[in-house]
Subunit: 470 residues, 2 copies
């Protein structure tokens, strides 16, 4: 995690200049090299320093992507796919320079198959754009990582978010992708059937590969019917353990909760202040139920029994859209609420994921760590998955603050790994978490490298992400 580990890699200036010349010739003003645009395409939402690409291709079709990759392959120049730039671990940086492919113009819905509950989209479409498009079909795409990320980016980081507990992560909701390989050839990983046993699961290999094995040109997604009713509510608990027990019972009883978010006392204080709520400053669960009117009522009642049994406060639920929206807006604004705790400061969002039986212990130990080191860092978690985020509020211009933050993230990851968890539930490895991957998976990382070497022998596809090649 130490910034000193994120080095720029060797740049091949001659090759880059040659590729830039060819791309300029080929794409005209759809290829940009101005510093402002390049800087925009290396913008990260973390404290990882920006590493700018040498040019940006604004792709408009799969053919543009294939051509760009082919040109870069000839010159062995890196290719870095860019969706909206909302990734959190430096996934869009260009440590050895190279060409960013901007997908914002490849944001079409190519096909909706309503009866099959699927659609095929270009990678640049954002999840909000997609859901706006789908509204009249009665369907929606459920994965909600918070940011209005692109589908290509969400696929590449194996994103999930608040309702993964019910609908799964990108791994569960991508049926197939088309991608341009390192040779510039477009392949399709699977047909549109809901399941298949035909050969290796290349779809799942591309989901979460962070653009290191191929550049996505389309994604086929599973969709869900928009629930007839959505209800939601909050419930506070005397302790984290009580809240987590309620989560475990909910999951164990098979209540198909759509969202079950753990918000710690400090984050509640921040949300109260920022979003004008008056919740008790205690560990709190935000929940949401999806289904028919009867089903939602039933789920809410069953959940109320559980909270009572776990020592929770009164569970009030509402199907009123405005009231629900206010609540969830507060949850989604957790980042801004954290930031407002200390105006002018930056926030680093980091994530780990542990087996849910260890969630209470892991969060409590992390709260103690925060207290012990005098940090300011509220916590929110996708509790049904055992995944939680710490929002570290810090002065990112102050090296001592940054160093302290890095040390904290190291301890947090070590704690999650000790509990048989992972150093990232949904943000990916990128550049920021490379030190932890071998600690988590040992020799399996060698297999990953062998796969990378086989599919991208010249290491041109988003190099320096997930791991560096020897």
């Amino acid at each position: 995690m130490a910034l000193s580990d994120i080095k720029g890699a060797a740049r091949n200036e001659q090759a880059i200049a040659a590729a830039v010349a060819v791309l300029r010739e080929r794409f005209g003003d759809r290829f940009q090299t101005g510093e402002a645009i390049r800087a925009q395409h290396a913008h990260t939402t973390t404290y990882i320093p920006a590493q700018l690409p040498d040019g940006v291709v604004f792709a408009e079709a799969a053919g543009d992507v294939a051509e760009t990759v082919k040109i870069c392959a000839v010159h062995r120049v890196p290719v870095i796919p860019f969706g909206t730039g909302s990734s959190l671990e430096g996934q869009i940086n260009a440590p050895a320079g190279g060409i960013s492919i901007d997908f914002s113009r490849m944001n079409r819905v190519l096909e909706v198959n309503a009866e099959d509950l699927d659609c095929t989209v270009e990678p640049g479409i954002t999840r909000e754009e997609l859901n706006t498009y789908l509204r009249d079909t009665g369907l929606f795409f459920p994965i909600d990582p918070g940011a209005n990320a692109s589908i290509g980016g969400m696929t590449s980081t194996r994103a999930s978010g608040t309702n993964a507990v019910r609908y799964g992560t990108m791994k569960d909701n991508v049926l197939s992708v088309t991608a341009v390989t390192a040779k510039g050839e477009e392949i399709r990983t699977a047909r549109r059937a809901r399941k298949s046993s035909a050969g290796y699961d290349l779809t799942r290999l591309f989901v979460g590969a962070e653009g290191t094995l191929g550049v996505l040109t389309s994604v086929t997604l599973r969709l869900q019917g928009i629930p007839a009713m959505i209800s939601g509510g909050v419930c506070s608990f005397p302790t984290l353990a009580d809240a987590c027990n309620a989560v475990i019972m909910t999951v164990q009883l098979g209540i198909p909760v759509a969202r079950i978010e753990l918000v710690n006392a400090l984050q509640i204080r921040a949300c109260n202040a920022y979003s004008g709520l008056t919740l008790p400053e205690l560990p709190t669960l935000f929940v949401e139920f999806h289904g028919s009117e009867d089903s939602v009522r039933l789920q809410s009642e069953e959940f109320a029994h559980i909270t009572a049994e776990c020592g929770g406060g009164e569970f009030k639920w509402t199907a009123d859209a405005a009231e629900r929206a206010k609540l969830w807006k507060a949850r989604h604004d957790a980042y801004w609420a954290a930031k407002a705790l200390r105006p002018g400061h930056a926030v680093i969002a980091t994530d780990v994921c542990v087996p849910i039986s260890r969630l209470a212990e892991c969060v409590a130990a992390t709260e103690a760590d925060i207290e012990e080191h005098g940090l300011l860092a509220p916590i929110v978690g996708h509790a049904g998955d055992g995944n939680f985020h710490v929002s570290l509020v810090l002065d990112d211009k102050n090296p001592a603050d940054v160093e302290q933050a890095e040390a904290f993230v190291s301890r947090l990851n070590a704690r999650a790994l000790d509990m048989d968890g992972t150093c990232t539930g949904e943000h990916g490895i990128g550049q920021g978490k490379q030190a932890f991957l071998p600690l988590e998976l040992g020799g399996a990382v060698d297999l990953m490298r062998e796969i990378k070497r086989a599919l991208d022998p010249d290491n041109i596809l988003n190099p320096g992400k997930i791991f560096t090649m020897g």
Copy 2:
């Protein structure tokens, strides 16, 4: 699919003899070379001819597996993992000879984490053994491919079965595996967290790899709470299209049906005769609902509305265990019922999977094909997934019958591919479906081969399965 395509590969007699000698020395009577035992380990349930291994190691621990692979790696001799031998496409054959690793003694439950709804098992345990073990915990492992297969085999073929519509396939229910690589090193693909974005999804790469990338030594599985209530029922429809429309509406409305099986008229006739039922000889759906008492009642009522709307007969549901068991036993005995249609004949079970919007069309065209060619072949389908099986009743000693069956399977696969489906929803490619994989996935198969070459350069891990290496 043509049998002539399934060739024995070149055997390296000297290397095999050397490996056999070392294995005999190392494992004593846990290494067997008698013909009866070798034949048992190449037994296939299809008409694909048996290709015997040269010896069988009865592994008792992961260390035995690693040692066997290391010995075989030194001599470049094939290693073929063996669970229960219930795979359907020749996955356990030894076309170039080699060593079968029998996992029947590696059938322990290593760990159950009830709060996390997961467990870790050795690959040789069967799904029935696992569920017997789990019964007192209130949990169960839902995947049910029909056969009492081993968890290792189910993982390796990406198995699914009747309740995948609710619980997913092996891809969705394997959290992590440990496996011995071609070098004889044991790796672990993931930690026990419910989700992770840490690097390539090696877990999903091993699920469905048919033992060609590594030999599994343990599998960590997601479990489900045993539902408080299970109800089931049947409903007949005037046409296949009506039945399939009911399936589509059920899925679209998000009714969490646990099983929804399509049984065609001929299969109903076979089941009536074999299992003493008196169902109308019409396209029929067998359904099952899991949940709390209220939830199951609600689901059943919602489904009854759908069947009425789709022109179905009266939907009668029951929570009575004996009545339900009789019904599902009849469904599970479909293979035997098909076989009883023409005593003394063999049955070949083949499978394809299409987008569910095309299911009715695909099944109807297949029925017409069966009629046109004078075949006897009932159909059952996991309709919620668009997956269906044709049970070809034939005289497998008669070359003309076999040839006709092969031609039928070719047409069936071509039909499924034309509808953007897959040549196998759950049986895998093995030896039997290799001709169809490139038709389905084109250039993506080259990527699979590159991965295989990278992870198993000497092609010792279950060679000749999924594809042959150049």
